[in-house]
Symmetry: C2
Subunit: 447 residues, 2 copies
Amino acid sequence: MSKNHEIQKEIQIGIIGYGTVGSGVVEVLEKNNDEIARRTGYQVKIKTVARRNWTGFDCKKLNFHCTENPREIVDDPEISVVLELIGGEEPARSLIIQAMKNSKHIITANKALIAECGEELFQIAKEQGVSLSYEAAVAGGIPVIKVLREAMSGNKIDRVAGIINGTCNFILSEMQEKKADFQEVLHQAQELGYAEADPSFDIDGIDAAHKLTILASLAFGVPLQFSKVLVEGIRNISAEDIENAAELGFVIRHLGIARRRENGIELRTHPTLINEDAMLARVSGVMNAVQIEGNAVGKTLYYGSGAGKLPTASAVVADLIDTIRDLDDDRASRIAPLGYSEIAYDTLSKHNELSPLAPDEFKSAFYLRLGVKDEVGTLAQITKILADNDISIASILQKTELDTDGIVPLIILTDPVIEKNMNLAVAAIENLPQTVGKLQKIRVGKF
Amino acid sequence: MSKNHEIQKEIQIGIIGYGTVGSGVVEVLEKNNDEIARRTGYQVKIKTVARRNWTGFDCKKLNFHCTENPREIVDDPEISVVLELIGGEEPARSLIIQAMKNSKHIITANKALIAECGEELFQIAKEQGVSLSYEAAVAGGIPVIKVLREAMSGNKIDRVAGIINGTCNFILSEMQEKKADFQEVLHQAQELGYAEADPSFDIDGIDAAHKLTILASLAFGVPLQFSKVLVEGIRNISAEDIENAAELGFVIRHLGIARRRENGIELRTHPTLINEDAMLARVSGVMNAVQIEGNAVGKTLYYGSGAGKLPTASAVVADLIDTIRDLDDDRASRIAPLGYSEIAYDTLSKHNELSPLAPDEFKSAFYLRLGVKDEVGTLAQITKILADNDISIASILQKTELDTDGIVPLIILTDPVIEKNMNLAVAAIENLPQTVGKLQKIRVGKF
């Protein structure tokens, strides 16, 4: 080691994408340059940044080379680490593969790409002896990937449950606070920039399902299996449901849940009733939180900004620093991308208990809301159907005020049941002549 | 790599200490043996466990060699990693040093030892090329050391504030919930095993100060400097203070706080008023939580069990797995023990802004409670003293009911002030003929 500690080692990086996250990463690297050098002993130099077009930017004022051709980054022999921050499947996937083939370490924030093509990319990374990091892909600035991969590694993980989509959480907590309807709050979220013009990716649960896919692999040592996730969004949650839930001592949040059962694992994203005293119930607005439960540590919770320019950049830069700290080493990375060793994957066929369960086999408690005609014997018939399907009732909230059509809302909380049974019961209840319209059912979580 | 993945590599470890934490570590390693092998590709074999005496244990039924001589562990060439779980300064320190000189990696849960002798131990670890890990030393099962050292490494840390002593938190949250007095709840905590027979180490803030010392070094890249921490405990918090705080919208918790100011850093442990809406205010009983605020990530919070057999073991085993993951590598560890590089320390003399401030220079808002005689002009005199010392008032709560001696309680919340000014003002107020007894002052935190 040099005696003159002022002369520091330098590492050159390239950034593909200069939108919200890319420009946030540049801002953090510039603003915290000294602190990062103090932590790592390296000066990080941003050599090149690629963007589809630089119209409107004064590239001469930027401290890096601007290009519209990302190949200038992935093929540059001086660049050791490539940050992919454009999102989406292509060209992100091809650019990452090309960069890895050129022996560059990769950092990405691309949850859809990792959830859907992660296995392929990790395999190439391994063959090329490079690292591929993705902390920013889940829960933004909250280091939940590092926590699962490293800090919780002594535990058998029982459950991971998280508020991992800020758009859904903003809408549900605003509906709760303002007693407003879904559509009204959605418009407001769009105006505030918390929801896209086409919000379906967020509010239909797809984004959360991508993130949950990644969390489940890290928690249980199973392949990425997006197709096995139960995906439900929040479009059909009404102000009435939120009010009923409050009367019963619950709030409604959209959760991603990966849970270990004896016969397999449940992968699910859906609106969930949460006891109002739980830490998760306190998470409002666009904030994220993930609760991780291990058989040694018990319940732990990680809370912070799940999106946004600088919080996401914080996670990207942490990955970069991890990569730098691994540089003076022959190995690409000390930990496999999904945390478990090769053996874990090679022997997975023996682990039936780690197969994803079909949603029919999930076990959940339910909130049920239905409209019933105010007739004698209706409740008896409904409770008989539930009992016939092995569903026991935790509590009933019978509203007394009739609406204009003589319909009474009936709210039932059940104990946990196999969802197949619930589906049979719901079909039977909806077929009763005394019930009106579709039954609303929302799962209840215990935290 | 062998084709036969069933044949796994084995690592032998020794454990010094078989009390609560030591037996918890054994339990976790045995119970989660398969999961740990799946994660690391190694079988962990506990070769030897040392305990002062094994009277009352049937050592033949234990799956390891029992010894009463810890040198059998530190001098055993087959043992690669030594877990020091006896606590206290000696013989822990000497045993760790001897084990490192014998090229063994070290894992410890010993906060007092790290806070007071860490620099010496880290230096020896570096010379010997071994790692020294201590995740369990702070906040038990919550991975706050890893988070600060790695996940937050892209941030300039503004503040770390945590509920890091479960005994204090149990007492204060019980006092709040039961409207009970300190002494009463302390006895209850002792009966429940949450407080020691001699509780001073916890309730006088020394344990929290040890932990805060470590957190501050990780956050700012400064040496361990226990002697610079303002240490205050909870003995003088009354049920009345907790009730007043509640009326003003606050709860009282004992916090460790490390804060960056322009001219230095504040290191402090003391009872603190926290806004009741803050996540930290929700942390009750023996649970711990640490809020970390960075200039990129914003506010993040980490919550879980701060003590206890299995949560502490979870952190010890995570360190063990990190150590194992670093084994196939020439370097002892990819990260310096306190997170920052050598350069950070060598150039520290240039960083005046990282010098610990004297408590006189700390800046805090305050809750003041004093007894005043019900006379005309008293409030005017008190507010004049505050104004003369540059202290502005945020709110005043004047109780109307006189006690038997004609004394009225007066509660004042101030804006943040330099503590030197507050001390001058308090002395002047206590000297007023209209004030009775000592003024109670508790700091207010904003979270």
